[in-house]
Assembly symmetry: C2
Homo-oligomer: 299 residues x 2
């Protein structure tokens, strides 16, 4: 059963126990363009107490650099090397784990941020935001020339998804021997404009269905993301806590990595999903209404 946090003593005890604090962002620190009340103060308290702060997001539409712009815009202190996005983790995975040979290329279903991270890792890519592939015109297989150097297809959230991109990716995955199938993350939906829209997992779903095969998933809850953090940051899992608003991504990610977990109720997960007879089997260590609750420690 999760511990419900509510008193100063609860929050003080939490700070004593954990040195590294990993945060999901949307639904935890902000909603779209609106800060969660108290979030900035709580991050300041953590920094003043010499806690290591990391931001771990499945958002694959932005590079870490442009994601930092989001923090700046909302007045939240963050440094690029504290930000771990699934686009960055996917690029690191391809360049450093898979070690895709230099002459090979990545076919991208995704947006500018994913391209930027691939570029920064020295990877060649095609597709993505290329205007030639951003079309709803019919795709002609007879007119398509297969590039034999494409060794991986990576899918992130792509709001310009279309049949040409899906068809080209499908050709690479079925006709180029050993071509890898990667997904930045498998979120079924994401919050936008006051509601939910289909997420990155929905963008890779057509290929998953056509191939009868699942992609290698990079983002939360997959441990690939944590492997990427491990390679760059020194932290003790026993003294690390993951803070998030989603049971099946954030909380599961923390649990898969042997971290403590704190669920906040300012995002996707509702009270009904953690209590009562239909509660999820994913049980966080701690629950609090909002990350802003911890600001009492600074008063």
């Amino acid at each position: 059963m999760s511990a419900r946090l509510s008193s100063n003593a609860d929050y003080e005890s939490l700070l004593d126990k954990y040195d590294t604090w990993m945060f999901d962002c949307d639904g935890v620190l902000w909603h779209g363009d609106r800060l969660i009340e108290g979030a900035v103060q709580v991050l300041d308290i953590l920094r003043r107490r010499n806690k290591k702060v990391l931001f771990v997001t499945n958002n694959a539409t932005k590079s870490r650099k442009s994601y930092k712009g989001k923090f700046d815009q909302l007045g939240v202190e963050a440094h690029v090397d504290e930000i771990y996005g699934s686009a960055y983790a996917a690029a690191v995975y391809i360049s450093s784990v898979v070690k895709l040979p230099k002459e090979k290329k990545v076919y991208v279903i995704g947006m500018k941020g994913l391209e930027e991270e691939l570029h920064d890792e020295g990877l060649s890519f095609l597709g993505g935001t290329d205007p030639a592939d951003s079309t709803v015109e019919p795709f002609s297989l007879a007119d398509f020339t297969l590039d034999p150097d494409v060794g991986a297809v990576v899918c992130g959230l792509d709001t310009a998804i279309n049949y040409t991109k899906l068809s080209k990716a499908f050709q690479y995955l079925t006709r180029n021997p050993g071509c890898l199938f990667l997904a930045t993350n498998e979120d079924s939906t994401y919050p936008a404009g006051g509601g939910l829209l289909p997420g990155a997992g929905a963008i890779s779903a057509p290929l998953r269905y056509a191939l009868g095969k699942d992609p290698i998933a990079i983002g939360k809850p997959a441990s690939t993301m944590l492997d990427c953090i491990k390679a760059k940051v020194d932290y003790d899992p026993k003294r690390t806590i993951m803070v998030g608003d989603r049971l099946n991504t954030d909380i599961l990610f923390g649990q898969n990595g042997g971290l403590a977990t704190l669920l906040v109720l300012t995002g996707i997960t509702t009270e009904a999903e953690i209590t009562g007879p239909n509660a999820s089997s994913i049980v966080p260590d701690y629950v609090t209404a909002s990350i802003g609750d911890l600001r009492v420690l600074g008063e």
Copy 2:
């Protein structure tokens, strides 16, 4: 085990046993724009012997009327009332089985043929080929007005699929109470231009994934298609045979409907999938290399 047909006597015996012959088209009668050798002669033989001939296709991009144009162009005799396509069956299902109230509308992910069949069944629809929805521009949920009269979303193969269509469909399916989720068919791929491209099942896959829910499937192998045929055609299942090139659509469809099944090897299914240790668990009653083999009966 399947019976392998090869002699005149085999084919004669088959003709004696079955009065109604249901044919899949692509991979059985033709490949794209190329007739399978002997297919026309075999259909003529069947008609001369007073067999009932039906064409049962999962192709949802064409209405029956325009699909007849394909037969005409290839010189294959066919009548509109012999053609059962999944677009037609989906429209009949919505109008006659579900009985969608007159004031309700269908949101279409699909092409002109699907719209034509919905129109012919007296159904109102939106989406589909509407230029406003055929775009790769970003979709703004904040600017979207939900039409409360949308009572069903139907997905067929749509080569102009994009994020706006998926997002609108997702809103109707999550925000309009009781909104039905239908797929014309669930084919993972389809043959085109000398290879395979993602099929209608891949087009509904993003919604399936985002919703965590399967659509009601209309086409083969679902029995919904046969229910639609049953409503229009008088046939005895015991004296009916389904001829197809796909185990998991055509052959399974025949078996689900209590029909005999004949697999031809001119399409998707290869010899390796029906023989040896890795053979499929779907076993047709009969196998022959090509429907053209039966033309010996006319010699």
